[in-house]
């Protein structure tokens, strides 16, 4: 069962993808993901786990390695009460679902949880928390696995 990694407000891109490690590949970069706020994150997060943040998650840079590092570490979904605009676009473009929660009440760090993207729900600790659905114009791209596979279909389908 996936577990929740709970963070606070204004988790910035430089925490997820530190500038010092931006010149390397994603593997090396992801090892430092969020180390400034939670040093054990990259070594303890498991495939399928869910990252939950407060408001303005992903504030800062346009570097998509912030979302890519989470995905590389196996994070299946990012949930926050609000997202910074560029991070939100980047996450979805990379095929990492980013969903807005109406509240973080009842969400506990380390608790087991499941997300139903279609229904727009996060179920944890016996509670069901509503998530805003993925916008209609983005859903087909996310379903394809992100912008790269989506455009590959478009270009190679047309060829």
């Amino acid at each position: 069962m996936p577990r929740i990694f709970l963070f606070g407000d204004n988790i910035d891109t430089d925490q997820m993808a530190p500038g010092q490690h931006m010149k390397g590949g994603i593997e090396a970069l992801a090892a430092h993901c969020l180390e400034g706020v939670r040093s054990e994150f990259s070594s303890t997060v498991k495939r399928g786990d869910i990252v939950v943040g407060g408001k303005n998650f992903g504030v800062g840079s346009s570097r998509e390695q912030a979302a890519e590092a989470l995905k590389h570490l196996g994070v299946s979904c990012v949930i926050a009460t609000s997202f910074a605009g560029i991070f939100y676009r980047n996450a979805l473009n990379l095929g990492l679902p980013a969903m807005v929660a109406s509240t973080l009440d009842g969400i506990e760090d380390g608790a087991e949880a499941s997300v139903d993207q279609r229904a727009g729900t996060l179920i944890t600790n016996g509670r069901t928390i509503a998530l805003e659905p993925i916008p209609e114009n983005i859903a087909p791209m996310l379903a394809a696995g992100g912008l790269a596979p989506f455009l590959r279909q478009r270009f190679q389908g047309a060829a």
Binding site: M22, V37, N56, F155
Partner: protein, 417 residues
């Protein structure tokens, strides 16, 4: 229908009326990329898709993040960037400065354009009446392949500055004040528009600082209606002439919010670690400083250099304080050299860094050490961004950075004017 400037700009790019809240596909007039999010990230995707650039004449590449290429990997990325520019025959400004400053300086922007930049500070182009915003590399690859991007027509948050700034108070102070008031998510990824007497009175470089820091407010764009000041700058930069007569928000257009500020009572501001929203008057801040940094797209343009030099002239830096200056562009540095401004920095013992992102991006070997306190004319002071996670960065105007270097502690620059 009364229209906002943002609506008018998007309508130009789609050829259809722009209705707030609707998702539309815009035709991109120009795409700007840099060495970090550019060739090394987009080329593998273009190859995967089996496509080239949609229009090589509409792509501008600028190296700034890994300049001067002081590590093996940074040098490798720059080499790859240069090879790509040659192969694709795109306009390439190499080592000329920070992309947001070089783009308008080299005449690439004209009012009314729809521009996408591969960097979060791309709202800078809004100062020229362009709808310009930042995207990540995958989305940029999509733009380079198709010439299109989706955008949700935003509402407009009007930030109106009445009155006039006092000497020693500049656009950076205005923006730190706004960050403190509305917060880093106050922009809600909508269109921010700056207006009012104090904004109209600003030079283009100062307006660029305002628009740039729409990123720190969480806006998608940071627009300023073009006027004679814009036209004069662009004519000087060699940009093509454009008709900007309709590029303004109509009176009584629907606004999402309207924030009012008074420039005439604004004192110099600083933002405490680790957020631009931690703004306060410089007189209320109490901290010693170890490093004073004049750099970045919002803090080391010609006028920023001139401001810092006006304070430093004939003064000595406090013992134990080091000062570094990374002029935003080679052109601005040349002008500063010609006017004796760079000499003032040299006399003050400043380390002069390349025309690049430098310590602000924290990508190279120039980074802040453990427990160092820095006062910086940059736009962003996230924990660990400019160096060690224990370093403390205060944001301020170039005036305040220079005054604090002299005093060895955070200081209101008006003491030195």
């Amino acid at each position: 229908m009364k229209q906002t400037l943002a609506q008018k700009l998007i309508a130009r790019s789609t050829g259809a009326p722009a209705i707030i809240g609707e998702v539309v596909t815009a035709n991109v007039d120009l795409a700007m990329i840099h060495d970090s999010g550019g060739p090394r990230r987009v080329e593998p995707l273009l190859q995967e898709w089996g496509v080239g650039l949609w229009d090589t004449s509409k792509v501008v590449l600028i190296s700034d993040h890994f300049v001067p290429g002081d590590t093996g990997e940074g040098a490798r990325i720059l080499t790859l960037t240069r090879q790509w520019a040659r192969e694709k025959s795109v306009t390439f400004h190499d080592g000329k400065g920070i992309c947001h400053v070089v783009l308008p300086e080299q005449g690439h922007l004209t009012p009314g354009m729809f521009v996408v930049g591969g960097d979060s500070h791309s709202p800078t182009g809004g100062a020229f009446g362009c709808y310009m915003f930042g995207v990540g590399a995958t989305e940029m690859a999509g733009v380079l392949a198709t010439g299109e991007i989706w955008v949700k027509v935003p509402g407009t948050i009007l930030i109106e500055w009445t009155g006039r700034l006092n000497p020693g108070v500049v656009a950076k102070d205005m923006m730190l004040q706004v960050c403190g008031e509305i917060g880093m998510d106050g922009g809600q990824y909508q269109a921010i528009e700056y207006a009012g007497e104090a904004v109209r009175a600003l030079s283009m470089q100062e307006r660029m600082t305002m628009s740039n820091m729409a990123a720190e407010l969480g806006g998608q764009v940071g627009l300023i209606a073009p006027d004679e000041t814009t036209a004069a700058f662009l004519a000087n930069a060699g940009a093509p002439e454009a008709d900007w007569s309709d590029l303004h928000t109509d009176e009584d257009a629907d606004l999402l919010a309207h924030h009012r500020f008074d420039a005439s009572t604004l004192p110099p501001q600083v933002a405490a670690p680790h957020s631009p929203a931690n703004a306060m008057p410089a007189t209320e801040a109490s901290s010693d400083v170890d490093v004073a940094y004049i750099g970045a797209c919002t803090g080391a343009k010609y006028e920023d250099l001139a401001a810092a030099a006006a304070i430093l002239k004939g003064q000595k830096i406090a013992p134990g304080v080091s000062i570094a200056v990374a002029p935003s562009s080679a052109q601005d540095q040349q002008r500063a050299t010609n006017e004796g401004i760079m000499k003032i920095f040299e006399d003050a013992g400043a380390r002069i860094l390349p025309n690049a992102c430098g310590i602000c991006a924290g990508y190279g070997t120039d980074r802040l050490g453990a427990d160092v306190t820095c006062i910086s004319s940059t736009a962003r002071n996230f924990k660990g961004r400019m160096g060690d996670p224990t370093s403390q960065v205060w944001l301020a105007s170039p005036y305040t950075v220079a005054a604090s270097a002299i005093a060895g502690r955070i200081t209101d620059p008006r003491e030195f004017l």
